[in-house]
């Protein structure tokens, strides 16, 4: 996105603090606070966040729970105000935040649709014209005259989404809506978002589904505890986020141990030319550069590696011995190149571990556990953990 494309959303040094109180919303606390002039405890949900969304661009917002994503969206939607900083936007905003949230259970589907439309600022005239399309899209033709309290949660969401997209805003805010609904409905949503994109409208999306958000976003912003950690290409940010989650989840998952007679001095993800990189390219060819350091001569050493997924399961592991790459000995410093074709693995976050041991595994010289987080970006769809070669006749 070039810098002279018009800006749709401009988030400028936004800081949001919430007041913390044990007994919020009581007159007693308010009066006591006033008398005591007590310092209010605050919680900083967003800390000096700035970014721009250009016209026609789709920006994904990722981060762990409590990172401030939803607060950010609320501020952009105008339902919350930043403590410091400001947000400006051009064009109408429609938000898919908790779909169907504004529905009143006692009103019928039809009444709720009209209400929702008018809340979004659509005239009743326009809403009547769009009504049939909304009902068609939601697939709730038979239930539209029923009070929505008789709806299932899925029906609720479908109707909410149908209204929100038919409103046809300039900017669409989407908060984790793809988590609900069946596969068919999700497909419909994604199609609608693609259509939206192709019309040159801007979107801001929150999702924990890395695969979806990566495929639909032009850029991704990564929030961590209210701080914008980075904004950039989807692959790069997904890798950064993946690394942070795995490290965060397993405490210090990154460990190393061994006798130390020989060491793997460094292990780096590189490209095919040997240049260090941070994100795996789309072809999922993994290249690693290992540097070893053996002060003493080590006979028949074996270098091994393993790939584990987010759940900690070993997806694949191998070593120089298995692959028939025999090293008679090592002495001093040296380098090894490892190439792994990970085309068959499905998209997601993985961890690379490396080890250096002797041939019959009795001595473990050095092991780097969960040393490099990688994100595999493949877009090939299939079920399961890896793509096996398949032939139909």
């Amino acid at each position: 996105m070039s810098s002279n494309t018009p800006v749709a959303i401009d988030v400028c040094n936004v800081t949001k603090r919430f007041k913390l109180s044990n007994n919020a919303g009581s007159l007693k606390t308010a009066v006591l606070d006033l008398i005591r002039k007590r310092e209010q405890q605050t919680f900083t949900a967003l800390n000096d966040v700035s970014f721009k969304v250009h016209k026609g661009e789709t920006l994904g917002l990722i981060g762990a729970n409590g990172a401030g994503k939803s607060t950010m969206l609320s501020i952009i939607a105008g339902t919350m105000y930043p403590t410091i900083g400001h947000v400006t936007h051009t064009g109408t905003i429609s938000s898919l935040l908790e779909l169907g949230a504004g529905f009143h259970p006692d009103l019928t589907g039809r009444e709720n649709v009209l209400l929702y439309g008018s809340i979004m600022g659509i005239s009743r005239e326009d809403m009547r014209k769009k009504f049939d399309a909304i009902v068609d899209f939601s697939g709730l033709k038979d239930f539209i005259e029923q009070p929505v309290r008789f709806y299932s949660s899925g029906m609720y969401v479908r109707l909410g989404f149908a209204v929100a997209v038919q409103v046809d805003p300039e900017i669409l805010l989407v908060d984790e809506v793809l988590a609900v609904g069946d596969a068919d409905f999700q497909r419909k949503c994604l199609d609608k978002m693609d259509e939206f994109k192709s019309k040159g409208k801007s979107m801001l999306i929150i999702s924990h589904d890395m695969h979806t958000i990566r495929s639909i976003s032009d850029r991704i912003a990564y929030l961590d505890h209210g701080v914008l950690k980075g904004i950039g290409s989807p692959n790069e940010m997904a890798a950064q986020y993946g690394a942070a989650t795995i490290n965060g989840k397993n405490g210090d998952a990154k460990r190393e141990w061994g006798t130390g007679e020989a060491r793997i001095a460094s292990a780096k993800l590189v490209d095919s030319c040997g240049k260090p990189i941070s994100a795996v390219s789309d072809d999922q060819q993994l290249y690693f550069e290992l540097e070893y350091d053996a002060p003493e001569r080590i006979e028949t050493p074996t270098f091994g590696f393993s790939i584990t997924d987010e759940a900690g399961r070993t997806v694949f592991g191998s070593n120089t011995e298995i692959e028939g790459f025999d090293l008679p000995y090592i002495k001093g410093k040296g380098k090894l190149m490892l190439k792994v074709d990970a085309k068959v693995l499905r998209s997601g976050n993985y961890m690379m571990s490396f080890s250096l041991h002797n041939r019959n595994h009795t001595i473990n010289y050095h092991r780097l556990e969960n040393h490099i987080p990688i994100y595999l970006p493949t877009a090939i769809g299939f079920d399961g953990m890896c793509k096996l070669p398949v032939e139909w006749n």
Binding site: A24, A30, T79, S95, E98, I119
Partner: protein
Amino acid sequence: MNLVKQLFQRRELLLILVQRNLKIRYKNSALGFLWSLLTPALMILMYACFAKILKFSDGADYLPFLVAGIVIWQFTAGCMNDSLQAIVGNTNLVKKVAFPRIILPLSTAFANGVNFLLTLIVLIVYLMLAGVFSYTNIYWLIPAVIMQLMLCIGICCICSVSNVFFRDTEHIIGIGSLAWFFLSPVFYRIPMQTSAVTSVLGLSEASQFQGIVFLNPMTGILGLYRAALMENQLPVPVGVSLWWLFASAGVCLALFIAGLIAIHKGDKSFGDVL
């Protein structure tokens, strides 16, 4: 000015929310909207029965006087009551969509207003049947309606905002509205109220501050309505200057403006607190 423009742009939303408030009130009831007419009619019947049995009377027109007072009072009381939920009860909307928040208390006030209009029709029919209806002074209705509408909008705004920040509001309103009811000339007449207040305050009978009861806006409003609809009723008691009506009107205006300020001030924090 900006607010008026915004409201004009979102007038359909206001209309739909008023409709919604009215619809929900009678949703799932067999008689539906008929209740708006049936409730006041039954209420009048009930008061008539008890007034007869208990023989509490203050002149021949006491029952119509009392019924008119109660109908008018209920508009204000209804607004106070419903406004508690105007914002809190629409948390989902407030948290998800940006729109002028004043629409929420405003729709509560208007929905109650529509209801009041229907009740007013029942009241007029009743006054006709009771033979005390008079339209010679019907023009008093104009200041009466304007004042009560301003008062109700003001109250709705203040109570709805206050209930967002202090849930105690609910309890305060419950007891406060009862106190206000007794302080207003609903079941007693203004002269009685005037003499009671002057004696409490130690004012002389001839004091020019006799009209001080009109600082309660409901005193002026009730006086005006009764003067507009009923025979032989004056908006202010004999010996009190008509100018005191401006005291009531002034308080209505002050509460109206206070309501607008409350909404404006509260707006920025609704999203955080709800």
